[in-house]
Amino acid sequence: MTPRTRAIAGSIALAVLGGVMVVAVFGLEPFGHYPGPYGDLVARIVPDQRQATALVSAITFDVRGFDTLGEEFILFAAVCGAAALLRARRRERGDDAPRPSRPEPSFAARTVGGALVAPVLVLFAYVTLHGHISPGGGFQGGVVGAGALLLAYAAGQTVRLKRGGTMAALEVTEAVGGAAFLALAIGTLVAAGAMLQNDLPLGTAGMLLSAGTIPIGNIAVGVEVAGGVALVLAEFLEHALLEDPE
């Protein structure tokens, strides 16, 4: 099939599909008239029974906790797959192959990048730890944490992304985060009788130590996402470094 016939056939199929979808959305509730009931039930139940003020995190790690466990494994598998694929290249070239030298980053990049690493790590901890109180949580915080590695890279501080060094540390970080969430799931299954049942002391809503297992899940996922996203970024950067600039 030539690209042209494929484009024509695809356009016809998409026109039909799009038309059906347009008809379908006119059957939805009008925009702004949320029909419920689940969001309203959660808004009524969670502050009272879970002492969590952030409904989104409470859903992710408590109400829908089992589903999040599955999503976490998708993330873990995707990171492992990307890292394995990118490493195949490195094995071909050999770990000790001479790598083309990178141009020295400018003074501005080194200063700003280096100065921002610590504040970004603090932001990572803040966003992750307050996930059950205010907007934020493990998924958002983890990406912020991975950003710290990019800044360090921009500042030219991670020239030695070799196996046994930074890569291994990131692998362990990701695995520990994933294992912690799994341990939380199995632990609650054994101790409370249902997976991710929130059976810990709930405390008072709005306090840092409250909402039972929700902040634990946030921390575990925050560590895993930070390690996983940073690992993928580091593998891509390492891959780019191996390519000879032509």
Binding site: V56, L85, V225
Partner: protein, 114 residues
């Protein structure tokens, strides 16, 4: 226009899939897939929106205040992070395809057909 948000979702999905079908570059293809995927966020958040609803966080507002649906926000947020890593996996596959076939045009990866 009470269905505009939903129509945006339909448009993003259709244009993303059209890009996937007609793509001549694997990186472009992966990006188009992300565009199609983002239509689900627009649709979910559009369904969960309520006129005058507050953000679903009771840290600053009275408990019981009408809020927008937090369930769809939870779905969108986990999918954004997981989707980003899946995109990274697809890009790594694109790197591998370039290494194997010396091309990033999907039409030139012909030795896959035997």
């Amino acid at each position: 226009m009470s269905v505009l948000a939903y129509l945006v979702a339909v448009w993003l999905f259709v244009i993303g899939i059209y890009g996937v079908i007609t793509s001549r570059h694997l990186v472009h293809l992966v990006t188009c897939l992300s565009v199609a995927q983002s239509s689900t966020y627009v649709l979910l958040l559009g369904i969960g929106y309520r006129d005058g609803g507050q953000a679903p966080f009771y840290s600053d507002i009275e408990t019981g205040t009408p809020v927008v649906d937090p369930v769809v926000q939870s779905l969108a947020l986990t999918d954004i992070v997981v989707g980003a890593t899946v995109t990274a996996l697809l890009l790594a596959l694109a790197v591998g395809a370039h290494r194997r076939f010396g091309s990033v045009d999907p039409d030139e990866l012909t030795s896959m057909h035997g």
